[in-house]
């Protein structure tokens, strides 16, 4: 039982990272119609920024905060400098453009930060604490708490604030939103800024567990997409719920079945979901106007 709980807690940690990344994905997708395939690699680039800042003696917490701000600026620049001017490009073209960003991020990282992986420490050092037979690293608790805090705040803003309403209306129907006077331009700037920052946050959380390298985000990137497919792209919370299921499943499969094949098994699992519940757990079928 303790082992089981131990795995659940470990799963919650991965779930936090997948969830943050997936939320970034779905925020951008629902409001702008763009599937941002560069989410992971932008996170990777920003993790390099964080590691570089840290290596240059910027205090850890400041380095993370600075990184989030820089990530936000990167997201802002992508929207303001590029995506905004691509309004006439169809969703497929925009998706291809984000794949261009993947290559740019993968090329720029070694140009700025060299070819060697960088080190980035855990936010909280310290030995595992034992809670009811389950030993947890303080850093794990911090990751889960930060994630839950951010999600709570974001969903509160989405549901209760004027800005949240603007985002939800834009997500529902951008044409109607425009007609109703919602500043959709600012909405897309906001989601790109926020989405990229969320991806960067996930990246700084995973950085201590691997190293900061060009390939560090491959796993999170894929799992955040799988989470979004599982939860469905129709709601903001779907992908987050999906992320928690995937994160926990991933750990349980890794422990009880095979750690080597955990990703493969999860992938087959998600294909099965696609067969039986193609729009995801919280998906809705919408009728396209002819």
């Amino acid at each position: 039982m303790d082992l089981f709980l131990q795995n659940i807690v470990g799963g919650l940690q991965s779930a936090s990272m997948y969830g943050l990344a997936a939320l970034g994905l779905v925020l951008i997708y629902k409001t702008t119609g763009v599937i941002n395939f560069a989410q992971g690699e932008l996170g990777m680039f920003n993790a390099f920024v964080a590691a570089w800042l840290y290596a240059n003696n910027v205090p850890l917490v400041i380095a993370v905060l600075l990184t989030l701000i820089i990530a936000g600026i990167v997201g802002f620049l992508i929207e303001w400098g590029v995506m905004r001017h691509a309004v006439k490009i169809d969703p497929l073209g925009k998706m291809i453009m984000t794949m261009g960003f993947v290559m740019i991020a993968q090329g720029l990282a070694p140009m700025f930060f060299g070819n060697n992986p960088l080190y980035f420490p855990k936010l909280l050092q310290g030995d595992p604490i034992s809670i009811g037979g389950v030993s947890i690293l303080p850093n794990t608790i911090l990751i889960i708490v930060i994630t839950l805090g951010i999600m709570a705040a974001l969903f509160y803003v989405l549901q209760k604030s004027k800005w949240g309403l603007a985002i939800r209306v834009t997500a529902e129907n951008i044409q109607t939103a425009k007609l109703m006077g919602v500043p959709t331009k600012y909405v897309s700037i906001a989601v790109w800024t926020l989405g990229t920052a969320l991806g960067a946050l996930a990246a700084t959380m995973v950085a201590p567990l691997t190293t900061v390298s060009v390939t560090m985000m491959a796993d999170i990137h894929l799992k955040s997409f799988i989470s979004a497919v599982l939860g469905g792209f129709a709601t903001f919370y779907g992908p987050v719920v999906g992320a928690f299921i995937i994160g926990i499943l991933n750990n349980l499969i890794g422990f009880y079945i095979s750690s080597k094949w955990a990703t493969a098994i999860l992938y087959v699992f998600i294909l099965i979901v696609l067969i039986f519940k193609p729009t995801g757990i919280f998906g809705k079928k919408h009728i396209k106007k002819v």
């Binding site: 590029v82 490009i89 291809i96 090329g107 992938y267």
Partner: protein
């Protein structure tokens, strides 16, 4: 003149030039390697273009399908001692079937699911390549030989010639079906799903067809790769390779046959050129950045791609003059 206007003839002429070029110039081994690698990647890109340029779907798993073709081919030639052409056929058919099954699952829905499903396929199959060492040689890679056909042992140059011949055949076949009912159905589907459906085009069937055909081309390209380079390892076949194919298709010209070759040539020659320029030579990753920038720029400003530049320039400067002249006459 009229026979030269036939695309099929143009492709054959291109093939003859591509074969004669290294022979007549007595090109170095490294030049042949570059040309062969362009030819191989062009085959995969041609397939990618059938998928993206004609049916409007994206795959991030085409690198993985190339890998699948490569390992299958190497396994059957080296381990099972099957003839080369039979292995090549298996390296085409098995990825076709795998693509078909993956497509059956991911293509029932509108939108982006194929891209995500193939992203997962790429990650998972890379692990499988690494773990199934009996089949792939694992992380240390697998080796095979130049092909032997009816006792004739190929060398570097003759494999290159074989690659170009297969490329030209595939270009012609692709052109043929793209100019017939299948191609029109795909184009209709990409431009207006409603019109296509109303005309009797099953979106699912044609997306599946385009995807399966394109994975088959990737398999063929993989087989030729391993029999030219005679070595393959798991990390070759990742997302990066798929993105290269995507970039080549976009930059060369979506929905065109020749664009696949032009796009690949551009991407393969770019790093070499950059290295020769002293200013840029030091930067690792610059070619990558430029490729990414090119993707964005072409999608935004010139989606017709490099292949259409001569034509568009011609139309811009000569056609207009002619119509002006005609107007004057009228």
């Amino acid at each position: 003149m009229s026979i030269l206007n036939k695309k099929q003839i143009q492709y054959i002429i291109f093939g003859i030039i591509a074969i004669l070029l290294p022979i007549l110039t007595q090109a170095k081994g490294s030049t042949i390697t570059l040309l062969a690698s362009i030819g191989i990647t062009a085959i995969a890109t041609l397939g990618f273009n059938v998928l993206l340029g004609f049916s409007g779907q994206i795959s991030l798993g085409h690198g993985a399908f190339m890998g699948l073709g490569a390992y299958i081919s190497a396994y059957f030639v080296s381990q099972m001692e099957l003839p080369f052409f039979l292995s090549l056929a298996l390296a085409a058919i098995i990825p076709f079937l795998v693509g078909f099954i993956l497509g059956l699952i991911a293509l029932r829905l509108e939108g982006h699911y194929l891209a995500i499903a193939t992203l997962g396929f790429a990650v998972v199959i890379e692990e499988i390549f690494a773990e199934f060492s009996g089949f792939t040689g694992g992380w240390s890679g697998t080796k095979t030989t130049y092909p032997i056909i009816f006792g004739y042992k190929f060398d570097k140059l003759s494999v290159y010639i074989l690659i170009i011949i297969i490329l030209v055949i595939l270009m012609i076949l692709t052109y043929n079906f793209m100019k017939s009912a299948t191609g029109r159905a795909l184009v209709a589907m990409k431009k207006s799903e409603h019109a296509a459906q109303a005309m009797g085009v099953s979106l699912f069937k044609y997306k599946l067809l385009a995807f399966s055909i394109s994975t088959m081309y990737a398999g063929i390209a993989g087989s030729l790769y391993i029999h030219f380079f005679r070595f393959a390892e798991p990390k070759l076949w990742g997302i990066t390779l798929s993105l290269d194919l995507l970039a080549a298709a976009v930059i060369g010209g979506l929905g065109t046959i020749g664009g696949a070759v032009v796009g690949v040539a551009f991407l393969k020659v770019l790093p070499t050129v950059l290295q020769m320029l002293p200013v840029f030579g030091d930067f690792d990753g610059l070619a990558f950045v430029l490729t990414g920038v090119s993707i964005v720029v072409f999608v935004m400003f010139y989606p017709r791609g490099l292949i259409n530049i001569p034509n568009d320039l011609y139309n811009k400067f000569f056609k207009r003059k002619r119509t002006e002249a005609e107007e004057v006459k009228a």
